[in-house]
């Protein structure tokens, strides 16, 4: 005797028609394997009913918050790295373009490479002389200022510099320390 459609009906969760129900019962009375399968399925169903849903260990939301904080901090670091890489790339690109432009201008303006080189060296000398002059100005100011600026002026200056230091530390902390997103 065939086991279909009884096997399908046996495992169906939909309610059967009365005639289907009767036919299935008649089949089960005569078929040992289907009867055994039916009994096993009833056991499985009962086991599912008995073993209800299981929950996580206490404190799951707190552990999730901690994991979220780690993930957000990681994501922030990745964004910072990307921004840094982008900044380095853009500045390097600009520097390269400027260098190419200077080289191209030199080739157009000057008749020979030696003339180009000599002009470059002359410009470098000028820069060094300017720095030297600036250093001299600083030395003179260091000698003159203590006599000119009163003590109260120095106090105000030191206080302002200290306040700037505090503001700088606060801004750095705001940027670097991760914020809680949820309670």
């Amino acid at each position: 005797m065939g086991h279909q459609p009884f096997k399908t009906w046996l495992f169906s969760e939909e309610p059967l028609e009365p005639d289907q129900e009767a036919a299935l019962q008649a089949h089960l009375d005569s078929c040992e394997s289907c009867r055994s399968l039916s009994a096993d399925w009833v056991e499985v169903r009962n086991l599912f009913t008995r073993s209800g849903p299981v929950g996580p260990a206490p404190g799951f939301p707190t552990r999730w918050q901690a994991r979220l904080a780690v993930q957000e901090s990681k994501a922030r670091r990745e964004i910072e790295q990307e921004v840094n890489i982008l900044f380095i790339g853009v500045t390097s690109g600009i520097a390269l373009i400027l260098l190419m432009a200077i080289l191209a201008a030199g080739i157009i303006i000057f008749d020979s490479p030696s003339q180009y080189l000599m002009t470059g060296l002359y410009s470098l000398g000028n820069i060094i002389n300017s720095l030297k002059a600036f250093e001299n100005i600083l030395v003179v100011m260091a000698q003159v200022l203590p006599g000119v600026v009163p003590a109260s002026g120095w106090i105000v200056f030191i206080v302002l510099v200290s306040l700037l230091g505090v503001a700088w530390t606060y801004v750095l902390q705001k940027i670097l320390v991760p914020r809680r997103t949820t309670s």
Partner: protein, 197 residues
């Protein structure tokens, strides 16, 4: 959907972390249960449940409010767990090789706890015989009371595919029951120091 939940969902979609925290509190058991039934291990289920909520948090904006939040969440959990099972197979870790970890607060008395643990182990052994997708369909149907349509939506299947997978899974589990019952009774006799062993 309850009024409170609608409010949390609205706020969470607007980026309110506190509101999403309330949703985690509310749905921790169904999500953990699905992951636990799928993976059969409490530690892995904890990781999977946390990952599910992280993924949901990150894609809250794409959640369609016309559909139940629980189904959307369980869909994420099921897909993640299926991926984990497939990855586990790639690294050749059999299901039985995983340590069976007891769940907290299973029962009030030690005797009841032992019975509960035994039940959970039997459920795990039964679900183990199924493919990951069939397992997800069975868990959604029997533990979460999802309809065929909701399961089909959650698992990206057609409704008829869900029905056929569930039928196949029921037959498979009924067939495994007898074999597992005899195996469990042998194990019990062995543990109790029966003279036969």
């Amino acid at each position: 959907m309850q009024e409170k939940e609608v409010e949390w969902l609205t706020k969470a979609q607007a980026g309110d972390g506190d509101a999403f925290g309330q949703l985690v509190e509310t749905y921790q058991i169904p999500v953990f249960n699905l992951c636990y039934r799928m993976l059969g291990n409490a530690q892995e289920a904890e990781d999977a449940a946390q990952e599910t909520f992280l993924r949901a948090y990150n894609s809250m904006k794409s959640y369609d409010r016309q559909k139940p939040f629980s189904t959307w969440l369980l869909s994420i959990a099921a897909h993640y767990s299926i991926d984990q099972i497939r990855r586990r197979r790639m690294t050749l870790v059999p299901f039985e090789a995983l340590p069976y970890q007891d769940l907290p607060d299973l029962a009030p008395t030690p005797e009841a706890a032992v019975t509960k643990i035994e039940e959970q182990r039997r459920v795990r052994d039964l679900l183990e015989t199924l493919s990951p997708t069939d397992r997800a369909a069975v868990v959604m149907y029997y533990w979460h009371d999802l309809s065929y349509t909701q399961i089909a939506e959650a698992l990206d299947l057609t409704e008829s595919a869900v029905k056929s997978r569930l039928h196949r899974a029921r037959v498979e589990m009924a067939k495994s029951w007898t074999y597992q019952s005899s195996r469990h009774s042998i194990q019990e006799r062995s543990q109790n120091g029966s003279p036969a062993f």
